[in-house]
């Protein structure tokens, strides 16, 4: 497994200074903040979370993800969806319905305006 992994030098966006981006996209920061909030409210412990995240990462690697850090928050989001479902906080069905609603809202919104659910 390790034989095919690139070295740190081959990582295209390796930040070596103090100002390296920590979130590449806003949704990553949102997913992070949601997780921290639910944890702080006691919905799950941090070790519980870490275990679930590690399991997602391990599964992704087994599925061929080279795991260069850029997919990290995708695994994070999957773990978050999993933990809220298993804790009966948000069900997968609710997610499907809500996603469709947001998708419709996005398509109904002229480009450049904030997207809101009606």
């Amino acid at each position: 497994m390790a034989a095919n992994t690139p070295t740190i030098d081959e990582l295209p966006s390796l930040p070596r200074d103090e100002d390296g981006p920590v979130f590449r996209e806003p949704w990553e920061a949102q997913a992070f903040a949601i997780t921290l909030t639910l944890h702080e409210q006691g919905h799950f412990t941090w070790p519980e979370w870490a275990e679930r995240l590690a399991a997602e990462i391990t599964a992704a690697q087994a599925g061929g993800d080279p795991d260069l850090g850029d997919t990290y928050y995708l695994h994070w989001l999957k773990a978050l969806e999993g933990i809220v479902a298993s804790k009966d906080i948000v069900s997968p069905d609710e997610m499907v319905d809500r996603k469709a609603a947001w998708d419709r809202a996005a398509h109904a919104t002229p480009h450049g305006e904030p997207i809101v659910l009606r």
Binding site: L11, V22, F23, A29, L36, A54, D67, L77, H107, L117
Partner: protein, 204 residues
């Protein structure tokens, strides 16, 4: 990314995050303003600056340093930086003969409360894998060449225990204030992939 019409488009990932957030808001579990505050805190306010102040205090105050090495969580709390993650922290002291490097080979546990959010490379598989197997090689790529007689210790974080490296105080900093010292403490020096900045070496 191209749009075939002039309407807005959200990627599947963005839809998932938005959906989850709005459901949680509807259920009264999440306050959007609180989420923004968390993002802001970790992106801008915590950064590595809290950790830098902890290190600067340890360099200037031997009693604090002793406390920090014996019970890092309590010592850090005493400065008002509490860990919201509820995990133990251990501070590893670098000396002329020992250099410490931290890593989480399993996922990427990181002492967010004092170091802010982890850099992308810390989360990358190559760093996680190679820091354990070939720490000197990884340090070399970061521009840190250690003498052969310096022992390199690699510390693998767990969900319950996080590490912070206490870098060596640079030479020529006698008489520096804590504020001035904190400026020399980089994030990477607290991960262990570089030394604290040398005030006499100029920018590099």
């Amino acid at each position: 990314m191209t749009n075939h019409d002039d309407h807005s488009h959200l990627s599947d990932t963005e839809l998932r995050v938005r959906s989850l957030e709005s459901l949680l808001v509807d259920k009264g579990l999440v306050d959007p303003a609180a989420l923004d505050a968390i993002v802001d805190r970790y992106e801008n306010k915590v950064g590595p600056r809290n950790g830098a102040r902890v290190v600067a205090r340890a360099w200037s105050d031997p009693a604090f340093k002793k406390h920090l090495l014996e019970d890092a969580s309590a010592a850090i709390d005493s400065l008002g930086y509490t860990s919201t993650q509820g995990v133990d922290m251990l501070v590893l002291e670098n000396t002329p003969s020992v250099h410490n490097v931290t890593v989480c080979s399993l996922c990427s546990c990181y002492p967010w409360a004092v170091l802010g959010l982890p850099p992308a490379w810390y989360k990358s598989f190559p760093y996680r894998a190679r820091a354990v197997k070939d720490p000197r090689g990884v340090l070399r790529e970061f521009g840190l060449e250690l003498a052969p007689e310096v022992e390199v210790r690699v510390w693998d974080s767990t969900a319950e225990l996080r590490y912070i490296v206490l870098p060596e105080r640079p030479e020529g900093t006698e008489g520096f204030t804590e504020e001035e010292l904190a400026e020399l403490v980089t994030r990477n020096s607290m991960i262990g992939t570089e030394k604290a900045a040398n005030p006499n070496a100029g920018d590099s």
